[in-house]
Amino acid sequence: MAKITYRHPNGTETVVDVPVPNTVMRGAKINNIDGIEAQCGGSAQCGTCHVYVDEANTLPLPAMHESEDDVLYGTAAPRRATSRLSCQLPVSEEIDGLVVHLPETQS
């Protein structure tokens, strides 16, 4: 179980406990959090589960795979240095406390 905070574009946030194993994308889906579409179901195809990892984050996130990097070239909201596909971020005890910001739009 890890606590994940999803911060919405309007400044509100949703904090949920996400069971392991899961991804940050699934954590949003199973908790009914709007703002993550994941049209492809989590296979790094569609770019509709885009998040910005909080800039102050120091938790150990996996390195970005080339295909994730490629998909991030076409997200609907602008790509930033902190952009990730949430389907490619596995939830583990090690990322307990992770904060991600949801973009204005996913598609």
């Binding site: 009914n32 709007d34 598609s107």
Partner: protein, 413 residues
């Protein structure tokens, strides 16, 4: 007077997304989502891939968590298909005998697999794949069999062929047309997929028709007979020859139907209270004006949002860019746009490396990008095409060293 109510018929991707989008867009009237199946809405793409390969149970496929409908005050009606629509009374009757009144009705009825109309087409072991139930049946059958015949070289057929081959089955694909995925991709991409399947040991027969299926004494399929007489042993047959849109409910209520429920650019039928979306709907292609019916997750999801916006008082014409994906033997093919009618193809990258894109042009106009293991090409095409931004000309794309990432930077969009 009761709050305005929306009844959504069909609980697949399009129907489920409509209900969800209505709530997230602020609709506060009653929402009823009516499904024919006994399970909550689920994802279909994994049914021919991960699910079939044995990974994950049905619960992993759920589109939304179990608590979703209750939390959003959406009534979800399971296992109760709509059987009759009375537009004058604005009521829809369900199989159980229950009737639902509506202010607005959204038909998200989907499509059903086309049957193989040959002798023996009804034998045991002849299956189709559209629903979770069918996928479970196919998965179980694949465990007990060694020889699979796939009829049809479209998305479903090829994905099942690849999954089954990877699981060690002997697989034959019989396609009646001269090439694979003919309706969806360019000839060059068909050829690449053909080579890929053959390299993995799938026997692929093109321009061949199944004339009959023969069974054993117990009524179970054992053999296919092709036109011309060739016989192929098979303990299991998957029929993937396309799907027929579910239009009976609409036609029965006097709505216009022509291989799909006909809708305008706002996805509305001739009755302003009735919309149709997803696999069952035929809408004007915003790029050509021609009537178009698409079976894809993208189309279902985007049409759902479009209808929800209209019902929330913010109508806009449907204009989303079509895109598709498939995975076969680890090959990831992504298609952005519709290549129908292209007259030349420019290759970006080297197909021998397994990473390349085919750009389908009509004259100077890019109609579609078909990308194999090059997601950036796909994503950037989607973004630029969707925004109406300049796209690479054939000359630019054919130049040595062309790359979508660099193009997008220089185009500054």
């Amino acid at each position: 007077m009761a709050a305005p109510s929306v009844v959504v018929i069909g609980a697949g991707q399009a129907g489920s997304d409509t209900a969800a989008a209505l709530r997230s867009q602020g609709f506060d009237g009653r929402i009823t989502l009516v499904g024919a199946e006994g399970v909550p809405p689920y994802q279909r793409p994994p049914l021919s891939k991960q699910f079939l390969a044995g990974a994950g149970g049905g619960g992993d496929l759920a589109l939304r968590p179990a608590s979703f409908h209750a939390e959003r005050d959406i009534e979800f009606v399971a296992r109760d298909p709509a059987v009759r629509l009375d537009r004058d009374a604005r009521r829809v009757a369900l199989a159980s005998g229950r009737t639902l009144g509506y202010r607005h009705l959204v038909l998200a009825l989907g499509a059903r697999p086309r049957r193989l109309a040959v002798p023996g087409g009804g034998l045991d072991g002849v299956l189709t794949l559209r629903t979770l139930t069918e996928a479970g049946r196919l998965r179980d059958a694949m465990r007990d069999t060694g020889r699979l015949l796939v009829v049809g070289g479209g998305f479903v057929g090829l994905e099942v062929a690849a999954t089954a081959r990877a699981a060690g089955l002997a697989v034959t694909v019989v396609e009646s047309g001269p090439r694979l995925l003919a309706r969806a991709v360019s000839g060059a991409m068909s050829a690449h997929l053909l080579a890929e399947h053959r390299a993995h040991g799938v026997r692929v027969l093109l321009s061949r028709e199944v004339a009959a299926l023969h069974g054993d004494g117990a009524g179970r399929v054992r053999e296919a007979e092709l036109a011309g007489g060739e016989r192929i042993a098979a303990d299991l047959v998957l029929v993937g020859i396309g799907a027929v849109p579910e239009t009976a409910l609409a036609a029965g209520a006097g709505l216009a139907v022509d291989d799909g429920v006909l809708v305008d650019r706002h996805l509305r039928t001739g009755d302003p209270a009735v919309y149709a979306i997803g696999d069952c709907a035929r809408f004007p292609d915003p790029r050509t004006g021609r009537p178009l019916r698409l079976e894809s997750v993208q189309n279902a999801a985007d049409q759902a949002r479009c209808v929800a916006a209209a019902l929330c008082g913010a109508p806009r014409p449907y204009a989303a860019l079509p895109w598709f994906w498939t995975e076969q033997f680890g090959l990831r093919l992504q298609i952005a746009g519709l290549g129908t009618g292209h007259d030349r193809v420019v290759t970006v990258g080297d197909p021998r490396t397994g990473r390349f894109s085919l750009l389908c042009y009509r004259g100077e106009r890019l109609l579609a990008t078909e990308s194999v293991n090059r997601p950036a090409d796909h994503m950037i095409t989607r973004r630029l095409m969707g925004a109406g931004a300049p796209l690479p000309t054939p000359r630019q794309a054919a130049a040595p060293g062309f790359g979508f990432k660099e193009f997008r930077q220089t185009a500054a969009v």
